[in-house]
Subunit: 434 residues, 2 copies
């Protein structure tokens, strides 16, 4: 057995941190063997002076959109999509998606994320890039049928299932798949009716966007006479083990449905603020017992993939929207970014505990903005940043050591992505603005 | 003449960035001489591949509160102050304030801030630490009289003026002072009446907290029959050149007063969210023509002093509260953190222009989360972090080069502050929680 130890750091366990403990890892199996004192592996990561946390889980994103970072800011969702994002996305080639994914993977690893859930297109490119990076992911081809010809719509839905079938278990099992119809309003009911039972037969979960904006909800009510989560439950679009992103505008009946049906919610506070969509009633969802994860959404509406920023946003805006400073506290936010996301994605991750997957991040604590160290969960949410992460480990393998990524060529990827974005700007006839 | 050049970077000018320009600085005078091509100084800072921005202005903070970082989180303002902050502050010695200030100065310089405005106590210690650091500041002893015996109250107000008189122009002119009664509800009107005219006679501005919470506003209405900004204008507590922090709960008449009287507002979005105080109507204040700066407030309610985080918060929550994604756009937010704050503090800073003070920060742009570079103001607000700052220059002197602070001993300060916070925890009988 080949082992790795992460030694001498404080280790986050639930709400508190164990002082100066070691984590012993089975590298082949990619699992945590033991957490305690005097554990030495064949190889060793020095975590002295640092804080060992579970690798963070970004439960809703579109990673290749890093290429569109800064392409359209300060616009509401509807115009942002129709005037800017969809037109530029129509120019994205499989190679662009690969390059944008690589850029994102660098950013994710650097900021301590070890698992992400991605909905986009040309998903085999995302899978290919993820495989090389060493990260863990749940991937799905986004399905949109509304506004398409029948053949194209059908083939889009088919592609969603084909990708899910082909790539489930890819990258030594680090990649799982899900069926991902974009949303209630962008997919015709007939495809939900035909393809969702087929996805369930494959044993994969369903992931959609839901109740992101008020307009979104009103449209569903107008078309179907009920609210999106009500319709999703009624039509078996979402059930236990499935998960919906956003859920900004959910009423109390929808909250009950989410809780009683075991449907997970991925909270994306930065995107919801930036597009002025609103803020999900997180404290109410928590009180109802809904499992909540945290997602950055794509980099065009955030504009980064740093889950530390997302944790801070979730806590800050959670208090604002609940009108209570004790709402959405630091502990609950760290849970969203770790165990919550892991539970939603059905991965035995999110805690530094024997038997769970060895997905970890180590933060350096010797920094002015992290001094003094009092309660570590508070420090993580209110003061730490992705740039404080020093080492990232996924599936027992070291992806980043001393801030250097070992699985990807960071400088080369940045240069390639930069050139690719320039080229893309040119393709759509835009002048690059600095 | 001794000159310094910052060469080869993109230089932010208003809304756009000039590609690959140099900035020439007169080191003795601490002013910018020229911005253009092929400018070489006696010494040179290499900014190739980077973005040169005006040094950021943190227009409302309490820097020594870094020692209280993480001491009380997830509590509303009233309980936070009365149960936690005021009791621990009563134990702070002048030496503690010096140590906390040093820790903050490291954090500020590292994140590209060159000027801050501080209201606290033992302010001569803040001045002493600031002097050594090379930073620029507007400092004032916070005055609180309510709840104190007459003699103590009077002496507190006197101290406010004495400090302002003694330290105005300190540190080669880098330190200016202001008279800082804490707020309408914490200072008795008689002290405003006696001491404010004396402050005006000294030619210094007045800075107070105003309209931070709804309770705050209601209390003033109950006691004085009018809202805080109305009372402040009526009693000449605030007039042209003065400035108020927070202004979360201001009505349209108060917005008119702020605009027509030339009273500046310092927006502190993170603190206002974290304490669930609410969000200032920034778009309305902007539309009315009020000068707006940005402040982190103290590190106990933020919990860091990174103005990049504050810019992001201001934009994000500004859109949310205005229910419009085009509200509080990136350009307006960068203005708040640069020219807005500089105007409020009456310092010829906030732009990279000949004749203005040579206060600059240089960000490294070669990072995944900053790729690709499109519009630089958007990048600054939505993707950049304090940790992207590589060099910081204030008053023509290099305070940080290649992420190493030249004026302060970072490691020693972190160790000292950490020990000091431990000691402080012990003094108040608290167990240190990790």
């Amino acid at each position: 057995m080949n082992t790795l130890s992460v030694t001498g750091g404080r280790v986050l366990r639930g709400d508190l941190a164990l002082e100066f403990s070691d984590v012993l890892i089975d590298v082949e199996k990619g699992v945590i063997l033991e957490v305690g004192k005097s554990l030495r592996g064949d190889e060793e990561i020095d975590a002295r002076g640092g804080l060992v946390i579970p690798g963070l889980v970004n439960a809703h994103t579109h990673i290749a959109m890093t290429l569109l970072r800064g392409y359209s800011d300060d616009k509401p969702l509807d115009k942002w999509l129709k005037e800017d994002i969809w037109p530029i996305e129509s120019h994205l080639t499989p190679e662009d998606v690969y390059i944008g994914s690589q850029l994102a993977l660098v950013e994710l690893i650097k900021s301590g994320t070890t698992t992400f859930c991605d909905m986009y297109f040309h998903m085999s490119e995302v899978a290919r890039a993820t495989d090389t990076s060493g990260m863990r992911a749940v991937l799905g081809q986004g399905v949109v049928t509304v506004g398409k010809k029948k053949n194209d719509a059908y083939s889009d839905a088919e592609k969603g299932l084909e990708f899910a079938e082909e790539y489930n278990g890819f990258a030594d099992g680090r990649i799982k798949t899900a069926f991902m119809p974009h949303s209630i309003n962008t997919v015709d009911l007939e495809y939900f009716e035909e393809h969702i039972p087929r996805a369930r037969a494959m044993g994969i979960p369903i992931h959609i966007h839901a109740n992101e904006t008020l307009e979104d909800v009103e449209k569903t009510i107008k078309l179907h006479g009920m609210r999106p989560i009500e319709l999703a439950a009624e039509c078996n679009i979402l059930t236990s083990g499935d998960f919906a992103a956003h859920c900004v505008h959910v009423d109390s009946n929808e909250i009950d449905i989410l809780a009683s049906n075991g449907i997970g919610v991925v909270h994306c506070p930065a995107s919801n603020m930036k597009l002025a969509s609103g803020i999900a009633p997180i404290q109410k969802l928590q009180d109802a017992g809904v499992t909540i994860g945290l997602g950055t959404d794509g980099a065009a509406s955030n504009n980064d993939l740093d889950l530390f920023g997302e944790m801070r946003d979730a806590a800050m805006v959670g208090k604002l929207s609940a009108k209570s400073a004790s709402a959405v506290n630091a502990t609950s936010v760290v849970s969203m970014a770790t165990v919550g996301g892991a539970k939603i994605l059905d991965i035995p991750a999110g805690r530094v505990e024997p038997g769970l997957v060895a997905d970890l991040a180590v933060l350096g604590l010797e920094a002015a903005h992290l001094t003094p160290v009092r309660k570590c969960v508070d420090l993580l949410v209110y003061a730490a940043k992705g740039s404080d992460v020093v080492h990232t480990i996924c599936d027992g393998k070291v992806l980043m050591k001393d801030k250097e990524i070992l699985t990807l060529d960071e400088s080369k990827i940045i240069a390639t992505a930069s050139a690719c974005a320039d080229d893309l700007n040119g393709r759509i006839g835009n002048k690059r603005v600095i």
